[in-house]
Symmetry: C2
Subunit: 388 residues, 2 copies
């Protein structure tokens, strides 16, 4: 095969609406609110080649996509397989922009490679398995009847998930609640399902102080939580502070969602700042970036745990030994995950997407393993940028 | 004074053109190219209050500004003085977006505070000095006659700067050149002016490997360079690699331009990854963020060196002991700095902005110390976003 050349790259922005959800509090985090509706936008990267095959990826924030123009020149005209060269160029081009945008382009390139070779990505990476367990990962807490409005409501929902087949459950608590309520939430859920589910806690950095973080940590310790994560307002970024948390609380920490890219992941590990290694395909340099982190972590003897669900997470978990759980979310007694409705052929990250063992399966379609609903995307397009 | 309330925030995008400059190479870094013209865009944040006073800040990339909507709700309706509360909210709201946008809003808030109190920012921070030395910081190398097209051309330009009063000179070399040419550049400039100027080298992460970085480092060592910076393609992010460079090469390293925010700066220092501490007001959380880093660095006994020129850099250097040089740039035998032409009242960051001692002075106008040219901005506005 001669090198297929990249001829054009497009970023398509489209909108979709989610019912019974709105932003609340000072920073407007989205959560359950009956009778409301929220407008979301999503973005797709499409890479065209002179071979007539295109690579596609749906994902990434507006902030990510705003930086793609910085390195588009290094993509256009390149070989469709030149991922490593493009990764290095994009890394330098976005060095003052936190490596924004390179992840989404990398994943469209992986989809492209799979389609050119008519193989799913996990086969190109090297298959380890075709399924893996998922945890049910909740929306943030709310104050509505029938919602996640009390520790007991979380515990009820955890049992519901257990009955569906989930063996693990992650709590995103409230954005604004007294520390005593946070502690009680950890205790009540731990008491109810702690003996039969792996429990995780992720306060998404809502806790104001290190001191309050310790109070929550002691509750996690008492109920033997599987991990706790991004607890307090340092933003999940201080390796120094998290080493101290690890010394004081014997619950495994999962950090690094908010620390972007391979080199800083390794520095954080070396600084003893985490036990589990968070990877995010949309923040860490795409599949190229997360596989580098997975391999570096394997060298440290550590596990990597992907942030959020999606086709890219499935393809890579299928090619990794050192990873435990697929994050199925966000979920809630009254809300389904709010990803854009663009996947055909039965692909689902809804609450009931697991099999009877609580597992998620990778598909055998080529590339990212999904077919996009172009009718929906075309009908809801609100913006387009073309690089050629 | 009752709390003045923030009523509205605007982001205004405007364009301006720079002659004899264009992007070149795979990632299109801008440099000298006679007869060409490049279109730049810039952005201003304007914060309105019910006191009738507004805070303004010009700066930040499109990527930064794309994230402001994530925390705008925590700004609108707040006290104009609530910088610390807004800093913490914005940090959490942008935790998955590398803290983008919070710097620009913070600096408009500082301008606002200064104007409300009719004082320049450095007085609110606490004055240390009213002037400080600058280094002439070059554009990247080019291949045009009269440009920075050879080691000798850099050396000639360094002498020209010395004759103007500059006591320090920083080389941005070529994006694509053989390693031997990089080494010769360090040697030729060192030979010519090394005995009378402090010399710095910043290859903006263009060098492909650690091995090539060492070759350049040995040349810097031989000519006693003041610092070297962001040498190779790790992107300036690996504390581990830079500790190794520090062990192998006894030239002070300046790192952290590409590592954003207080906590990760401190982690990098603790990991022995740098000697001088780079701060950037547009990446590190604004004046609030860089002052936190300056104080943390002071606690480590280290100096902080601001990235790039501008009013915010002047206000903060005036309030710091532990900082050596103002970065005047980028400069070139045929090109002036390319910041947007929006400052009235004689404010200048052009090559001749220094006094006879090579110093830059802070002004005594209130807030950021500059008056913006609204005629120019209004005439060149290409986009506007309003948060209210």
């Amino acid at each position: 095969m001669a090198d297929p050349k990249i001829t054009k790259m497009e970023v398509i922005e489209f909108e979709y609406f989610v019912e019974n959800m709105e932003g609340s509090g000072r920073i407007q985090l989205p959560g359950y609110a009956p009778g409301t509706k929220i407008r979301n936008t999503a973005r797709m990267v499409v890479i065209h080649t002179d071979a007539g095959v295109t690579g596609e990826y749906v994902g990434g924030s507006a902030t990510e996509h705003s930086a793609i123009g910085l390195f588009a020149n290094a993509v256009i005209g390149e070989s469709a397989f030149a991922r490593e060269r493009i990764y290095n160029d994009a890394k330098q081009a976005t060095r003052q922009h936190a490596r924004m945008g390179m992840s989404q382009v990398d994943m469209a390139l992986w989809d492209l490679a799979g389609k050119l070779l008519d193989q799913p990505i996990y086969r190109l990476l090297g298959e380890h398995r075709k399924s893996f367990p998922a945890y049910a990962s909740t929306y943030i807490g709310d104050n509505y009847p029938g919602g996640l409005n009390s520790p007991e409501a979380y515990a009820d929902f955890a049992e519901e998930c257990y009955d569906m087949g989930y063996k693990a459950f992650k709590i995103h608590p409230w954005q604004e609640a007294p520390i005593e309520q946070h502690v009680r939430l950890v205790e009540v859920v731990g008491e109810r399902v702690g003996d039969k589910m792996d429990l995780m806690l992720d306060p998404f950095c809502a806790i104001l102080t290190f001191g309050d973080a310790l109070k929550i940590g002691r509750a996690c310790e008492a109920y033997n939580y599987y991990w706790w994560e991004d607890v307090f307002k340092d933003g999940g970024e201080s390796a120094f502070a998290h080493r101290k948390l690890r010394e004081l609380i014997r619950v495994p920490l999962l950090q690094l969602e908010h620390v972007r890219g391979l080199e800083k992941h390794v520095d954080f590990i070396v600084a003893d700042g985490t036990d589990f290694v968070r990877i995010d395909h949309d923040y860490d340099g795409g599949i190229t970036g997360v596989m580098k982190i997975a391999h570096a972590s394997e060298g440290f003897g550590l596990d990597v745990e992907p942030h959020g669900p999606g086709p890219s997470r499935r393809q890579t978990m299928a090619a990794m030994r050192n990873s435990n759980y697929y994050e199925l979310g966000l979920v809630h007694p009254k809300l389904q995950p709010s990803y854009p409705p663009v996947y055909l052929d039965g692909y689902s990250d809804m609450l009931d997407a697991i099999d009877e063992n609580g597992h998620i399966h990778v598909t055998d379609l080529p590339g990212m393993g999904v077919t996009h609903d172009w009718d929906f995307i075309n009908k809801h397009t609100v913006g387009k940028t073309v690089y050629d």
